[in-house]
Symmetry: C2
Subunit: 340 residues, 2 copies
DNA sequence: GTGAAAGCGCTAACAC
DNA sequence: GTGTTAGCGCTTTCAC
């Protein structure tokens, strides 16, 4: 497939490549109105499209940012992405998108792909808080601007933005406790996701604060998806003696809550009368399923603004000191429809 | 930010650029084992990454495909994308992703961006079945391989894959009718989405077949989102005399169903006793909300296979005749939990 | 087995 | 205002 180049246009008009190039960028300082018009005209007629790669090669800058998301099952990261895109557009940057599908191998090859395409910077929500530590470390040493968001890599010298998972969890847990719940089943996230630790700590701390003793059988480490939530809930119900039944459920993700809720419904356990459900949420997913599920949303707009700010700072000057932003828990609560 | 180039490696090793280049592609025909080892070694040490744009410029082919999705609110298109990615990877292609956010202006600029990056081909699910007709026509004339999927552009000379919306709709409608429903409220999709017409036709045809007279007040044209579904449902309930209440709801999208269901619940209308809900679905969204919603899923795997096949055919030879694939209605039904 | 040189499409000094 | 030239990083003849 033959693409039209400035050379072709130059030949047709009997002028030089440089003039065409100048005209195409409407450099009215150095090219006559007449020439500009002619060039633009024939370019259009011939179906000319500037070869971006040649431009980038020449400029040694692509004016594009790569963003890497762990998943696109929920719309959380996509919404974030959409906000980021608007912000970057204002600054003259484009956005390239990749999904890792919760696989750190994929994540790594996405990073490498973007690197090969010489993106000016990278926005990453990582699948795994450890697996790629060395990889990223050497990357950052090479001077490539990276900002991690939402899911970060612990201990890595880099800029990052995340929401205050500890406080958010604390808040939701207290919500359940004030609702009279005492045996709160917690579906934790997998260890390798960076937010797990903070939330787990908050779970323990809330119990302590309210003098509720910790029961290890009430904490189940599982995956982030609907199926994981369903499986965990089923396992719990099957193994738990009636007198040790939980009276509330706290989920790591809203997808888990969705799965767990289905199991409860199937077994005829009423919500929220018998059991109250709360979950951390980035999406409308849980609330969408039922207003009886209380959710906390992470402050996305602020997160995207900060991510872009930090990234552009690094791009402007790679020696900008790294900054680890933890967003205050600006929480938007959807209260339970009914209380005890 | 200075990137390492083959020139740098050549200088360090005191050999020529060409040898480095050959060594990097492990051309053991023309380079000694020894040299290859040395080059690979120092390349690694120096943190060399091949500049993909220089390669592409030289090769005049990028080995990448651009995919453009209308939305990422639901996970339908992302799942499709994931399948496509696997298939393309096997053929040595990479995938670049863009989201148009249901805006045909965005869609167009995404196409242009990919074109500027000289992707080898384009996979598009379009936001609008008319708005970009001329645009695409000239694009295709210029010889750029494009395959439309799911949402196509009517009348355009091009390859495309879609599912059999007519049959799927017919099936769901009959499901409702066999369930004893007669006044089926239909939340249609907006006119500019290509699937709307087929589904509307099926709505009418099913009624005819079962000798149910058509009532225009039972068809509401609205948007695809949750809010649209909620708004349409509210409008209907507010304006409809009690004796003209519908006994079933058929939605264009699962998101609409979600919105409508919330309104129904808020008004204390029980599902599925009073009203039965069915919807076209690409995602788990609707089923996730309630097993009482019957859904039809579009056959994604087959669609991705066909899309890739058609695209690669065009890439291999742009003069391959276009093919319009309509996938047989391989439907996966989730039956209502209860029947009348 | 290796090097020199040309060129992919573009921009930006530098001349005139 | 326009043309000439060099070069971005790479691959690929064509010599040797």
């Amino acid at each position: 497939m033959k693409h039209i180049t400035i050379k072709d246009i130059a030949k047709v008009l009997g002028i030089s490549k440089s003039t065409v190039s100048r005209a195409l960028s409407s450099d009215s300082q150095n090219v006559s109105k007449e020439t500009i018009r002619k060039v633009l005209d024939t370019a259009d007629k011939m179906g000319y499209r500037k070869n971006e790669m040649a431009v980038n090669l020449r400029h040694r800058s692509t004016k594009t940012i790569g963003i890497i998301l762990p998943e696109a099952e929920t719309s959380f990261y996509m919404k974030f992405t959409s906000m980021v895109q608007h912000l970057l557009q204002l600054k003259g940057y484009r956005l390239l998108l990749a999904i890792s599908d919760e696989d750190f191998i994929n994540e790594r090859s996405n990073v490498e792909l973007f690197d090969k395409y010489r993106v000016d910077g990278l926005l990453i929500s990582t699948c795994h808080n450890k697996a790629n530590y060395d990889f990223y470390e050497s990357f950052i040493k090479r001077g490539i601007p990276i900002v991690f968001f939402d899911r970060i890599i612990q201990g890595l010298e880099c800029s990052s933005v995340k929401s205050d998972d500890y406080k958010a969890t604390f808040f939701l847990m207290e919500h359940l406790i004030y609702d009279g719940r005492k045996r709160i089943l917690y579906l934790a996230g997998p260890d390798h996701i960076s937010t797990t630790a903070d939330r787990m700590r908050a779970y323990h701390d809330t119990l302590s604060k309210h003098h509720i003793s910790y029961d290890p059988s009430l904490v189940i480490v599982t995956g982030t998806n609907e199926e994981d939530g369903a499986a965990a809930m089923t396992a719990f119900l099957d193994s738990c003696p009636p007198q040790e039944m939980c009276d509330a459920l706290f989920c790591f993700t809203d997808l888990q809550a969705v799965g767990a809720k289905k199991v409860l419904e199937k077994r005829g356990i009423s919500i929220p009368e018998t059991i109250s459900i709360a979950c951390m949420s980035g999406t409308r997913m849980a609330a969408l399923v039922s207003p009886a599920i209380t959710t906390v949303e992470r402050p996305m707009l602020k997160m995207s603004e900060e991510a872009v700010r930090l990234l552009l700072a690094k791009i402007e000057d790679i020696n900008t000191p790294s900054e680890k932003v933890v967003l205050p828990a600006e929480m938007f609560i959807r209260a339970s429809t009914r209380r005890k």
